[in-house]
Structures are given as C-alpha cells and as structure tokens.
C-alpha cells in the first residue's frame, strides 16, 4: 500500500469525499474478487461500459434506408434494420451510453442525498432526525413511477441529465433509511466513542470513522440504484414521456412498439436486441451486488 511519510492531511471536506469515493471503488473491487460470479459479472459490466462509450465515437449514426425497412438479419445488417431501414446493431451499440449515464447520475445523486441526510439524521438525532425521516416517509409513500411519468411529461425534459435528477429525487428514501440504521449502529462503536473523547469533531467522526466503514455497503446500494434507474428511464422512454432523440435502448423499444415492428417477421432481433442489452446489464449488476452482499460477511472477508 502506498504511503507517504507525511501524516494524513487535515481533512478538507471535498478531499475527504474524494478519498472516500476512491476507497469505495477500491473496496468494492476487492469485495467482488471474493466471488467468482461477481468477478465475471464485473468484467462483463466493464466491457459493456467500454463498448457503450466507445461506439458513439467510432460508429456513425446509421443512415436511414427507406428501401430496406424491417429487414431480417443479414451479413450487412447482422440484426436487421428498423422502421426507417437503419442498422439495428449500430443502434444497440450506440444506445447504451445515455442509458448508463442517466443511471449513474441518478444513482450518484440519490446515494449522495441519502448518505448526507441519512448520516446527519442518525448522528444528530432529535428533531433533525424526525424531520428527515418524516420527509423520507412522505416521498416513500408516493407511488414513484406514476409520479415520475406525470412529472416527466409535464416538465418536457430536454436533457437526459434532468431525467436522471428526477429519478434521483424520488429514489433516495429507501437508501436513506438503510444508511441511517447503519450509522445508528456504527456510532455506538467503541472507536467512535474514543473519537468523541478525543474531541475530533462531528465531521471527522462522520467522514473518517463512520462512513469509511460503510464503503462496500454504499457501493452495493449505488449499483442497486443504478438498476432501478435503468428500469425507470427505459419505462419512461417506452411510454414516450422522455425526449425521443438520439440512439438509446429505451427509444429503440418505444419506436419498435409504436411503429409496429411486431407485425414484421424479420424484426425479431430488432425488438429483442435492446431487451437483451438491458437484461444483460441488469443481470451483471445484480450479480455484482449479490457478491458485495456476500463480502459483508466478515468471516468471508477475513478469509481473503
């Protein structure tokens, strides 16, 4: 492990958060390595991410070819063509980027909200706790997806990032409760008491003593939030409540549905391609979280 001769820097909050994030990724990867399925899933996921981000740079937007719509798979179009004769494979390869970005941003924001307020709620207690958990309960009782659909249609989201923020705004309460209960238990630990006796301050206790012990846990919730966000945004695209611009698995599904691809014999792979892409991404992420869960078992961790 790389170490400098210098003592740790006096914690600048941003630096602390950054260190925490790096640590979270590191411990997540470490946790995943305990389980073969988790390791494979991680690598598949990384490959998908790389493809999704590289494809839009190297593959041009497939041009329409109205003479060749709903074509069956062939050598030129391995997955056939769509309603306007564009190549389906190119769309699938290019269509992951936005889906993943929206999911990641949504997950990041909701994890950020839940950690900040969940930890505050547990650590401060009293009326702060009452207000925050009360608010979380209110958001939790609202049927999320219908509200999301209504809001998305009403706000006419022009940018996928807004979509991500909207998903995040409704996704944080579950994680907040989980974070809160974790912090409640961690703050009773002897080392937290020792830190209090040393008068190290609330920021130190939260960011250096408590949260680093939740890294793997947070990483797990981050991935789970991403899967949730993927389902939600694909649902919104499918229903047409989100901007239908560019290549995107959700938009592909929407167009396939509304332009009647199901009536064309050769369009089986046109419909299946985005579904499979989404399913594989979800499967790899769920497998990753399951391994993360396993890694929480301290006995397993010790064996490593």
């Amino acid at each position: 492990m790389a170490t400098t001769a210098l003592a740790p820097e006096s914690a600048h909050p941003v630096l602390t958060a950054l260190r925490g994030a790096i640590g979270a990724v590191r411990s997540a990867l470490q946790a995943l390595s305990y389980n073969r399925a988790g390791m494979i899933a991680t690598w598949v996921f990384i490959v998908i991410v790389v493809i999704s981000f590289v494809s839009p740079l190297v593959i041009a937007e497939p041009p329409p070819d109205y003479a060749n719509i709903y074509a069956a798979p062939s050598a030129v179009h391995p997955l056939g063509t769509d309603f306007q004769g564009s190549d389906v494979l190119a769309q699938v390869l290019r269509g992951g980027e936005v889906v993943l970005i929206v999911a990641a941003v949504a997950a990041f924001v909701s994890v950020l909200i839940s950690i900040t307020f969940g930890a505050l709620s547990a650590y401060a207690g009293g009326w702060v706790d009452t207000v925050i958990t009360g608010l979380a309960d209110v958001v939790l009782t609202i049927p999320g997806f219908p509200l999301l659909a209504v809001l998305a249609a009403y706000l006419r989201l022009s940018n996928p990032i807004f979509l991500a923020l909207l998903i995040a705004a409704l996704g944080w309460p579950t994680l907040l409760r989980a974070v809160r209960s974790q912090v409640l238990s961690l703050k009773e630990r002897d080392y937290v008491e020792a830190a209090r006796a040393l008068d190290l301050g609330t920021v130190h206790v939260l960011f250096r003593e408590i949260l680093p012990n939740m890294r793997a846990y947070i990483a797990m919730y981050f991935v789970l939030s991403m899967t949730g966000a993927i389902y939600q945004q694909v649902g919104l695209y499918l229903l047409g409540f989100a901007p239908l611009a560019g290549d995107n698995w959700g938009i592909m599904l929407n167009l396939a549905w509304y332009r009647g691809a199901i009536f064309f014999k050769g369009s089986f792979w046109y419909i299946m391609a985005p579904i499979i892409a989404i399913s594989v991404v979800q499967l790899t992420m769920v497998t990753m979280t399951r391994s993360l869960e396993e890694a929480f078992n301290p006995r397993l961790r010790k064996a490593g």
Partner: protein, 333 residues
C-alpha cells in the same frame, strides 16, 4: 485545592420500555492527579456507567462532575473542551476499539493534528515517541499496520497510545486488560503502571477481577460497587486484607485463586440468595439486604445505609459493619 476530578452525588438513569433503570445513584468519588482508583463490581454495578460519566461521555441525570472545582456540564465550552482532552478512555474489546479501516498512523495523527499539537514531520516524531512509550517497538514497523494485522495485546497498546496523544491527566481504563490472554496481561498492566509513574497520569481502573485490581491498584484506592452505588471505598491493600462491607467480603471469599490448596481451604462467606435483584426493581433499604448474611430485619430492609467515613478514612455503606466498627457512633437509628 479542589480535587482533579470530583463526582458529587451523581446519578444516571435510563428510560427503557420496561421502566426506568437507575444505573447509578448518589455516587461520590474523587480522583487526584496521578492517583489510581479501581472500580470493582459485578455486571449491573454501574462501574462502566460511572467510567463513561467521568470520561465526559455521558451527562449525569443528577449530581455533578467537577473538574478542578468547575462543573463540566454547566461551565463554559472551554472548560468542557479542556476536560474532554484531559480525560481519555481505553475500552475493553481490542477488536472493537480501533477503526478497522484506519492505519495506526491515521489513528494517532488525527487527534495530534486536529488539536494543533503537532504538524507534519513533528507528528510523525510524536507518534514514534508515543508508540515507544506503550512498548510498541520499533514504531516504524507498526505505523502502516491496520488493526486486523495486530494481535489483541498490540491493539490494546494502540488504544492506550491513542489515549496518550492529547497528554491526558486521567485515563479511564474500562476492563482494559480483561480480554487479552493471560500471558500478555501482566505486560500490559506493567506498561500502564509505568505510564502512571512517568507521566503522572491518574487512572480510573474498572475491573471485575479483584486480583487485577490488587495488582494494579496496590498503592491506590479501590471502590466496590453494587447495583449502582459505592458500598465500600478504601486503600486497596486495606480493602483486600480486611473488607468491611459484607458484599466486599463475599466477593473476596468467592474468588477462585490460582493455588489449589489455598482456594479449596478459603473460608467462604455464604450469601442468603444467589440471585441479583433487577435494576428495574431495587430492594428497599439496603439493596444488598436480600442476599446479605448480616441482614437484620427492620433495619436493613427499611433504611438505606449511607456511605460512612470511618476514623481511618475508609468508607462503608452498611448499618451492621459501621455499628461494629464505630461502637459509639449514633449514625444508626
């Protein structure tokens, strides 16, 4: 001159679903600079609660904790902050008292830098010095270790080192050696004894093991606690030689000794009951009366014995023992 720390008539109660638990009632103890005070008692005696209260981690629900004469909970923030740093705690469980994600250097540097005691290079020097003081040598081999890379005894030493970072005047050692192996325990105790001499640190030494209290507190005082009260306080050696309170006598006679002939011959003080009363429903009068061999009807189950100072300075809270030791005193109605 006021005592370094004085706990005056302190009580601590907790509200639970089943009722109010009086963990500590009207406890008064004081601690001078460099003194050792051992707190001895069984589970439920309140010794840990008193330790946390003295460490400033728990506010008493009644009574006061005075630091050089000032009530730490009503005095200015500065007084409290000064107190906080002057009193440090060492916990029992070496596996829970160090943060698993921090290296030794993180653990020690945080308090040093946070309070501006040292910076940068000087911090490193200071950490080396402290580790050497607690016999973790050579220090450079340990600075980058995580707790799980250390043995139980070494972890306790790191806990002690952490407590030393702020130059404390009092260390509350809460069963600090009871979870380490027999072969290592004595060296840990010897380290603590040496720190007391070298640094003139006072110790509140909490233990259930009278043998350990005897060894560590030989030159200090010991207070025996039972169900939230101090029932006897005396210089350790006097208490071990002649305990006055029947509970202290029962404890001493009950302890198995690592010496077959001695332990099998030891005269046992028989109690009237083996069951400890619940803190939720304490007996009237003296809380020890349902178990006490000296029990007198109408006295012990009616009036609570106060902690009475004897001519030799020892304190006992027992009607019968005090009457026998102070024949002329009219303290007993």
């Amino acid at each position: 001159m006021p005592a370094l720390i004085e706990v005056r008539q302190a009580s601590q109660s907790f509200r639970t679903r089943r009722g109010v638990i009086n963990a500590l009632q009207d406890v008064s103890v004081s601690l001078e600079g460099g003194e050792v005070l051992c707190l001895v008692g069984e589970s439920g005696s309140g010794k840990t609660t008193l330790g946390k209260m003295i460490a400033g981690l728990r506010r008493p629900t009644g009574g006061q904790v005075l630091f050089e004469g000032q009530d730490i909970w009503t005095a200015s923030h500065e007084v409290f902050a000064r107190y906080r740093r002057a009193v440090q705690i060492v916990h029992q469980d070496p596996y829970a008292s160090l943060n698993p994600v921090q290296r030794v250097r993180d653990i020690l540097a945080a308090p040093l830098e946070r309070h501006g005691i040292t910076k940068g290079r000087a911090t490193l020097e200071r950490m080396r010095e402290i580790l050497t003081q607690v016999d973790v040598t050579p220090p450079d081999d340990y600075l980058d270790k995580y707790p799980h890379q250390l043995s139980g005894g070494q972890r306790q030493r790191i806990s002690i080192a952490r407590a030393l970072t702020l130059g404390p005047r009092v260390i509350v050692a809460d069963e600090a050696v009871s979870m380490v192996d027999t072969s290592i325990r004595v060296s840990l105790l010897n380290t603590l004894l040496r720190l007391r001499e070298d640094l003139n640190v006072a110790f509140l030494f909490i233990t259930h093991d009278l043998g350990i209290a005897k060894y560590f507190g030989w030159s200090g005082n010991t207070a025996v606690m039972y169900l939230g009260r101090v029932v006897e306080r005396a210089p350790t050696r006097a208490l071990i030689a002649h305990p006055h309170h029947p509970y202290a006598r029962a404890l001493l006679s009950a302890i198995p000794e690592p010496d077959p002939e001695l332990t099998r011959k030891k005269a046992k003080l028989l109690l009237r009951s083996l069951e400890i009363p619940s803190l939720l429903d304490l007996p009237r009068g003296c809380t020890f009366h349902p178990r006490c061999p000296l029990f007198e009807t109408g006295l012990c189950d009616d009036q609570r014995p106060e902690l009475t100072t004897l001519p030799d300075g020892r304190e006992v809270a027992c009607h019968v023992a005090v009457r026998d030791l102070l024949p002329r005193a009219s303290g007993v109605a």
